[in-house]
């Protein structure tokens, strides 16, 4: 039996939580989140509108996979190469300390990485 599998049951680790909860799922832009605390939507007649929606079925369609059952193969070799290249480029960016800039807007999710890489570093300090 190989012991190289570590299944995490029970509570999730903070880094895995951070990897998900900051910019995935339903996201309201940061400044809007602050605005929501300060303004009363109903009285100022501000509206929340859907800027975009992507779900896994839409992802699959976007890269040409047909039915739901084909979705697992969504990440083809070409996309993986692109992702790998993008990841490498982003890592370089972050290393150079210009993490906050330079990510092409609305590219693959990896492109949003730079904006949130500083977050985990910030959190432990806040947590103390």
């Amino acid at each position: 039996m190989n012991s190289s599998l570590d299944a995490v049951h029970g509570g999730h680790s903070l880094v895995d939580v951070l990897d998900r909860v900051l910019d995935k799922g339903i996201v309201i832009d940061a400044w809007v989140r602050v605005a929501l605390v300060g303004i009363d939507l109903v009285t100022v007649e501000a509206r929340i509108v859907i800027a975009s929606i992507d779900t896994y079925i839409r992802y699959a369609k976007a890269i040409g996979a047909m039915p739901m059952s084909a979705a697992p193969r969504a990440a083809g070799p070409r996309e993986l190469e692109e992702l790998a290249a993008e990841n490498a480029a982003l890592r370089a960016l972050v290393k150079d300390g210009i993490a906050a800039q330079g990510a092409p807007a609305r590219r693959a999710r990896a492109a949003r990485r730079p904006a949130r890489i500083p977050a985990p570093a910030r959190t432990p300090r806040e947590a103390q």
Partner: protein, 214 residues
Amino acid sequence: MKKNTQAQGFYIYGIVRAGAPLHADCCGVDKRWPRIEEIRSDDICAVVSRVPREPIAATREHLLAHERVNRAVLADRTVIPMAFGTQCRSREDVAQVLRSGYDAFSEALEQMNGKLEFGLQGYRHGDTAAGTDRAVPEILRQLGDVSLASRLNAPFGPGMVMNAAFLVQRSGEAGFDHGVREISQRYPDLMFKRSGPWPPYNFVRIRLQLERPS
């Protein structure tokens, strides 16, 4: 402790289809108001708890509380998770968010019904990096048989070479675990960490904006 009712807002954890009562017997992000409630609009509900009317800090405690609540709800419901830090001033504002995003929320709930997310991270042992470039696409392909979809995120942290998420039918969890065990035996040079179940953070992305009348 005297509670100032004027200053209370609502923190949103996620969105569920209206139905059976929630079984979320856990504490929300603010210990003074631990109770998890639902605010309903049409046939969808926001999972909320009370918080003060001030932006909530991304502390370890708050982040873990956000996830703890969603995980508890996930035990017997499909939940579309909110990103951390969304709160509204009133019940009526929460309902307004639900009404405004109804089409997107409803579609996502439909598509994610009965599905769970699992994480699988691969780490190299020591300096043996050989072959991982090829291994990652192979692993995704092999686990494609026991999952509905997969997503690759940027690896982070020392030694991590793969940071993947898989969408799996609730009834298919055992099959997915079996697939993961096979993978871990097939790639002895890699160490794997499986996490989950998670709400489908990696398979739903809904962006909301504020629009003010001009």
